[in-house]
Amino acid sequence: MDERREDGRPGDVDWRERRGADPSESREAPGGPPTEERQEPLHPAIEDDAEETRRLAETWAAPTGFVGWFTPVNQRIIGRRFIVTAFVYFVLAGLLGVAMRLQLAVPENDLLAPDIYNQFFTVHGTAMMFLFAIPVLEGFALFVVPMMIGTRDMAFPRLNAFGYYVYLIGSAIFFLMLVVGMAPKAGWFNYVPLAGKLYEPGIGVDIWTTMITFIEVSALTAAVELIVTILKLRAPGMTLNRMPVFVWASLVMAFMIVFAMPAIIVASSLLILDRLVGTGFFVPEMGGDPLLWQHLFWFFGHPEVYIVLVPALGIVSTIVTTFTQRSLFGYTAIVISIVATGFVSFGLWVHHMFATGLPHLGMSFFMAASAMIAIPNGVQVFCWIATMWGSRIRLATPMLYVLGFFWVFVMGGLTGVMVASIPFDLQVHDTYFLVAHFHYVLIGGSVMPVIGALYYWYPQLTGRMMNEVAGKISFALVFVGFNVAFFPMHQLGLDGMPRRVYTYLEESGWGDLNLLATIGAVVLAAGFATTMVNALASLRWGAKARRNPWDAETLEWATESPPPPYNHRHIPIVKSREPVWDWREMKERPVVTGLRSDRREVVVTSILDAEPQAVQVLPAPTIWPFLSAVAASVGFIGILFHPIFFVVSFFLAFFSFVGWFWPRRPWQED
């Protein structure tokens, strides 16, 4: 397969014959050749009626203007908004992290008062998990998956829009609390009784539980969307065993959200009841149990780690395939590993609670299960190595981030296996060893692939390429900065430094390594900042992307960059796992015909074999999801101040839902 790269002729007009040419060579400067030359016809055999194409674009177009901002339902627009909003929180929460590192740089520092520091680490953790990691991966899934499976939108476009507005409102209010100094300060895990009304009398924890509710609703809508879309809207011929690995990963993530989120919904509801109504679910004096919170929280909290890890591993599979120009080695093994990870991740939560004094024998089960998770992850790592073996890898930025991922994630995985051991965990639990461990897992396993994905899918997001030089500088800074920042923390933990301390005594001897970690954190931040600036600058100055700039194999590249509103001009019929690579050899390219261009139609196919079953008509842009999100927010936020808002919100939501679901005759009847 690699000889394809050899005879790549930059600037080839016939896209089907270009084989693995390096995009950097063929990249045109802005204002270079006109669009028609850059984006070759996709379906040369089919006579595309220009009038038909125009009508299709008109049907699927998103509204513009100020009011128009609140109404689009197209999956790519919603997905892009999720990604952009999540990155905004990534930057904000990252700045909080840097502030905390500055406070810890020297012993007995007074840069941040303890109350402020505690708010910062609470918001940093909460925002990175709930406002960045989950939404950004949902965002990539919403953006990429429908194009990848060859359809034109999600199964429930309006629900999609609703999920975004709910996320936006909830997260914005949560961050505003930090600005007014009323953010929660009981940690992102909010252990009771510390998070109870007695010890946290302010409104911070109330806002936290409310924000959790918002994010749950948003994540559940995205999960339902993804499950139905992936199972029912795949292009004809894309049987389950031809589904791209990233789609599998998104599917597993969606199912995990569906099963994990109810636990945190219950937990946060019980907590808000304890706080607002005076129930005693977690109050020992009233017959409650503080450990109940921990069980519920971690029953969600552990799968959560894999919710943000599994799709990121899917990204790694995607990037490895594309940049080696090879079929993924052990596709079936990888898919089974992903599904197994999803299952096993629900049997691990007690390993966050080894120190709570539960019976040793009972905890042993969780020790074994926690260690077992190494197997599916190990299988994936070695499948990627086997894929890469003896290939000529294109070392562009997305692939560099994946190579960095190997280094960082494997180390995080190894310390993860260590902390599965109960006696060892009792020593390092809640110390900086753990801080090092989970940053290795989350930044290595999730953030680095996500940054890689940003570089990788940027052409489909914006129609331009991100700057490669800046990308490589960014990777170097991130990789070096990350290791300098977090590797010393292992030693700090072994030396007895606990987590969540705003300062430490000079005599502790932790000063030197902390200073080193702070220097690393600043370098790391500079690396991420380079990528963020690169992403913003490339919007305007980035080179225009040609079609399929990375020569990838999946269907999201089988259209223009950026894709037109309808994603695919013709719905393709899929015959293998790498449809776009097949087309390099095939002159014939079967497509679905008969879809109307004057309304939003998608093909519904069967779950296993993707045989066409029906045509679904999707709804057009509308303001109702936004109004419904506002109505729900009025209730969720207002109830913290007065119970009447429950009633107000009930009626508001009722009317907005009526408006949302009002039968629209014209598009149903004809």
Binding site: D115, I385, G496, R499
Partner: protein, 330 residues
């Protein structure tokens, strides 16, 4: 058995010259086992890490030079099964086995304990109560736990407020202190010394400065120490000290603090009956000297922001008398 003891004593010997708050410097057999576990983990993990990174580099060797050569399917599967299944499986078996064994030894608590100490997590300090075999209180102190070397102490861990976690890494892994529960930890120090411990569960604004010291001394010295701690105070004869006690009571210190044998019987704050015998103040935050004590009483927020103790402004003479009295409480 002899071999094991030898290995343990070697680890203990190495530890003696290291810092006083580190799991890698064990001062008990339990901690030494876990420290040994850590070195084994480190060795195995380093091997696996080097292997994986080496394979990634080997996989990429053709990128710049040689013609590409995809891996044969058979060899590929050998790699995946060997590295992705067999290797983790070995790790899992070793880890679970060692975890069960060490965890079991620690959890089984076969020998009856020689003494019982109740440690209660407060915001943000530690109350330490020595109890006899019947559970009756012998002595009460704070933030400093004195233990006899070679004897097993049963430590009962409680909290009446938020969750704390009791952790002296040189001696034992951590155990949470959860309201409504009594957890148990066992400390069997194998060498004398001062070992620092710290709260390991986030417990509010001053989680950072919630430390304690475990002082391990010879058994005879311990018995004498405990007998001294058990003794209540009498009204001092010296007029300055007598005035100091009066200042203590007038300033309402007794509402929160107890000095056994005097009218001060408060339970909110640490028991001060033998305050001068402790080496630190404010839960391991500052040394227990007269100057620090004066600063602490005058403005506790400056030393430990968020602390629940109110500031007490005193006339210079009163302050002098109070300090003289408090520093006499040996």
């Amino acid at each position: 058995m002899i071999h094991r003891t030898a290995a343990l004593s070697l680890v203990l010997l190495l530890a003696a010259c290291s810092s006083e708050q580190a799991m890698t410097a064990p001062a008990s057999e339990d901690a030494a086992r876990v420290a040994g576990l850590w070195w084994a983990f480190l060795g195995f993990a380093s091997f696996v890490f080097a292997l994986v990174i080496g394979l990634v580099i080997a996989a990429m060797r053709t990128t710049f030079t040689e013609p590409a050569m995809p891996i044969e399917t058979r060899r590929g599967w050998t790699l995946v099964i060997g590295g992705g299944v067999v290797l983790p499986l070995i790790a899992v078996v070793g880890l679970v086995g060692s975890g069960l064994w060490i965890g079991g030894v620690v959890a089984r608590n076969e020998e009856p304990a020689d003494l019982t100490v109740e440690v209660a997590g407060k915001r943000w300090w530690w109350e330490v109560i020595y109890r006899d075999a019947d559970g009756e209180e012998i002595a009460r102190t704070a933030n400093e736990i004195v233990l006899p070397v070679g004897r097993t102490a049963r430590v009962l861990l409680t909290s009446d407020n938020v969750i704390h976690s009791f952790w002296a890494p040189n001696l034992q892994g951590k155990t949470d202190m959860i309201p409504g529960r009594v957890n148990e930890s066992r400390l069997t120090p194998a060498r004398t010394g001062r070992f620092r411990g710290q709260c390991a569960e986030f417990c509010g604004v001053q989680h950072a400065y919630m430390a304690f010291v475990v002082e391990v001394i010879e058994a005879d010295a311990f018995d004498a120490w405990l007998a001294r701690q058990a003794r209540p105070r009498t009204v001092p004869a010296d007029p300055l000290l007598r005035r100091g006690l009066a200042v203590f009571l007038e300033a309402d210190c007794g509402t929160c603090h107890a000095i056994r044998g005097t009218p001060a019987e408060g339970e909110m704050g640490p028991d001060l009956t033998h305050l001068a015998a402790r080496e630190t103040l404010a839960a391991g935050t500052i040394p227990n000297t007269k100057g620090h004590l004066a600063g602490w009483i005058g403005d506790p927020q400056k030393v430990k922001p968020g602390v629940l103790m109110p500031a007490t402004a005193l006339e210079p003479d009163d302050q002098e008398a109070l300090l003289a009295y408090l520093t006499s409480l040996r």
